[in-house]
Amino acid sequence: MTPRTAKFTVNGALLLLALVVVFPLLWMLSVSFMQRGEASAFPPPLLPAHATFANYRELFEHAGMGRYLFNSLFLATTVTLLSLAFNLSAGYAFAKLRFAGRERIFQALLGALLVPAQVGMIPLFLMMKWMHLVNTYGGVIVPCLTTAFGIFLVRQYARSIPDDLIEAARIDGAGEWRIFLRIILPLLKPVIVTLAIFSFLNTWNDFMWPLIVLSDREWLTAPVAIASLSREHVQDYELMMAGSVVTILPVLALFLVLQRHYIQGLLLGSVKG
């Protein structure tokens, strides 16, 4: 193979692959602007004959999508902020503070990473029921307040902070919490951004737990709502695609803006070995 054909093959293959991968997303966008029934044709149309916002209007005016998106946004934001507070302080302590049983507790945390969430899901549901948190925001938020993964990620990152820095602040008479808030947190900025995107995306995209703990219409998250809408509107492709667009768009946009941090976090998290 000559260098030129090799170059052509590699880039051609990449382009083809990228087109195949992105196509479903573009097609979703296109169908969401089609008139009712337009997508049910053979051959399937690629672009709307007359672009319309009717599906989006229907979604927000009749299907209550605004409410579901608000629920998702509120839950993802709250979980992100609260879990940051829990995971940052704990992760820092595991990296830099001395306390009895630190290593053993940390090993147990690593062990917890191996247990899939659904093992405890049914007792958790019963707990939520007894705490009257079923069908409330609290039912979604409380179990996500802290994650072993988040603590682990912060600890890995915080270990690189020099001990001298903390020691110097102590000699100056600063209290531990003051050191954490004033000196450590600014240094943890990269891992804060990473962790924030992770927990926002995970909470937004989560399906099984919200499906279990939320059943009243008014509390549903966007993914649970479009899953149930899709059962009522099996034939309404255009409407459902509009539902998919508004569900995916916020997380996709967030990823596109902050992707460097997301991918760094992914790599940091996967080399835990």
């Binding site: 991968v21 097609w27 302080s89 595991f94 503070l97 899901m121 409380v142 531990e176 919490w177 995209n205």
Partner: protein, 294 residues
């Protein structure tokens, strides 16, 4: 005294939450799986009885459980190699010195990973539509007969696998790409001077160097694919002929449609045990290969 207790104000809250909402439910699950906790017990806990291993025995003698297990093993057995193959192929292309616009391509290929499963599963449900789906349109264009993807029990699981590969391959691609970038360039230079072909370089330099990363990726993916749930929930509801009922879907049905919570917990434990077993075997297998390969 102050100094000794202060660290606990940092870790205490997080550990309390993890203890209350993770450790406690997992331990309670073990106990619950030995009871006949159901709708009546939900109304009044006094209706609950300890049945020891009855849940496990009953589950293991239910044909639908075995069917869901086979379906899940099919999904894992075919889906994991295909996913990792796609990830590796894409990572190799992106790592090629000849590739242009690497950042742009990486973003495009990674995009499905961050999308919401339910929302993209709806797209694929339409792509797989027998009459109006673009996939059948492409197939008939190429001279093949159209396939009833989500309506034919032989094709429903392959359709879900295709969807899962599309959705997930970008994740491992990024990890493998980082692995490829850490292979020393000198190795390739030396091989080229020795006149080794591209295939031989891949076989004798790239693959051995990637081994630990591939093992890691395989374990993460296997553990994740055993938890198949949202895809069949949205695309097929477990049909046709229960060909896409996964173990987790079966657990969901037992627990939250029929409210057999004790039995559902037993199913969760069986799935957990199986996942641990398979990832353990994979780890041992991978490590042994490493030693003999060295």
């Amino acid at each position: 005294m102050n100094r000794r207790w202060l660290p606990w104000t940092f870790v205490g809250p997080a550990l309390l939450v993890l203890g209350a909402f993770f450790v406690l439910p997992v331990l309670a699950a073990l106990l619950l799986s030995f009871t006949d906790f159901d709708l009546y017990a939900l109304a009044d806990i006094r209706n609950m009885r300890v049945v020891w291993f009855d849940n496990y025995l009953e589950v293991l003698s239910t044909p639908l459980f075995w069917k869901s297990l086979l379906n899940t093993l099919y999904f894992v057995g075919v889906g994991v190699p295909l996913s990792i193959g796609a990830s590796l192929g894409a990572a190799l292309l992106l790592n090629s010195p000849l590739a242009k616009f690497k950042g742009l391509f990486r973003t495009a290929l990674f995009a499905p990973v961050v999308t919401t499963v339910v929302a993209v599963a709806l797209i694929w449900r339409y792509l797989f539509h027998t009459r109006y789906g673009l996939i059948n349109f492409a197939l008939t264009h190429l001279g093949f007969a159209p396939i009833d993807w989500l309506g034919d029990p032989h094709w429903s699981m392959p359709a879900i696998i295709v969807f899962a590969v599309w959705k997930n391959f970008g994740y491992n691609m990024v990890i493998l790409l980082a692995g490829l970038q850490s292979v020393p360039v000198e190795l390739y230079e030396a091989a080229r001077i020795d006149g080794a072909s591209a295939w031989r370089q891949f076989r004798h330099i790239t693959l051995p160097s990637l081994r630990p990363v591939l093992l890691l990726v395989a374990i993460i993916t296997v553990a994740g694919y055993f938890q198949l749930f949202a895809e069949p929930y949205v695309m097929t509801r477990g049909d046709p002929l229960q060909s896409t009922v996964s173990v987790l879907y079966y657990m969901f049905q037992q627990g939250f449609e029929w409210w057999n919570l004790g039995r559902a917990t037993a199913i969760a434990f069986l799935l957990f045990a199986l996942t641990l077993l398979v990832t353990r075997v994979l780890l041992r297998f991978g490590r042994r290969g490493e030693e003999s390969g060295a």
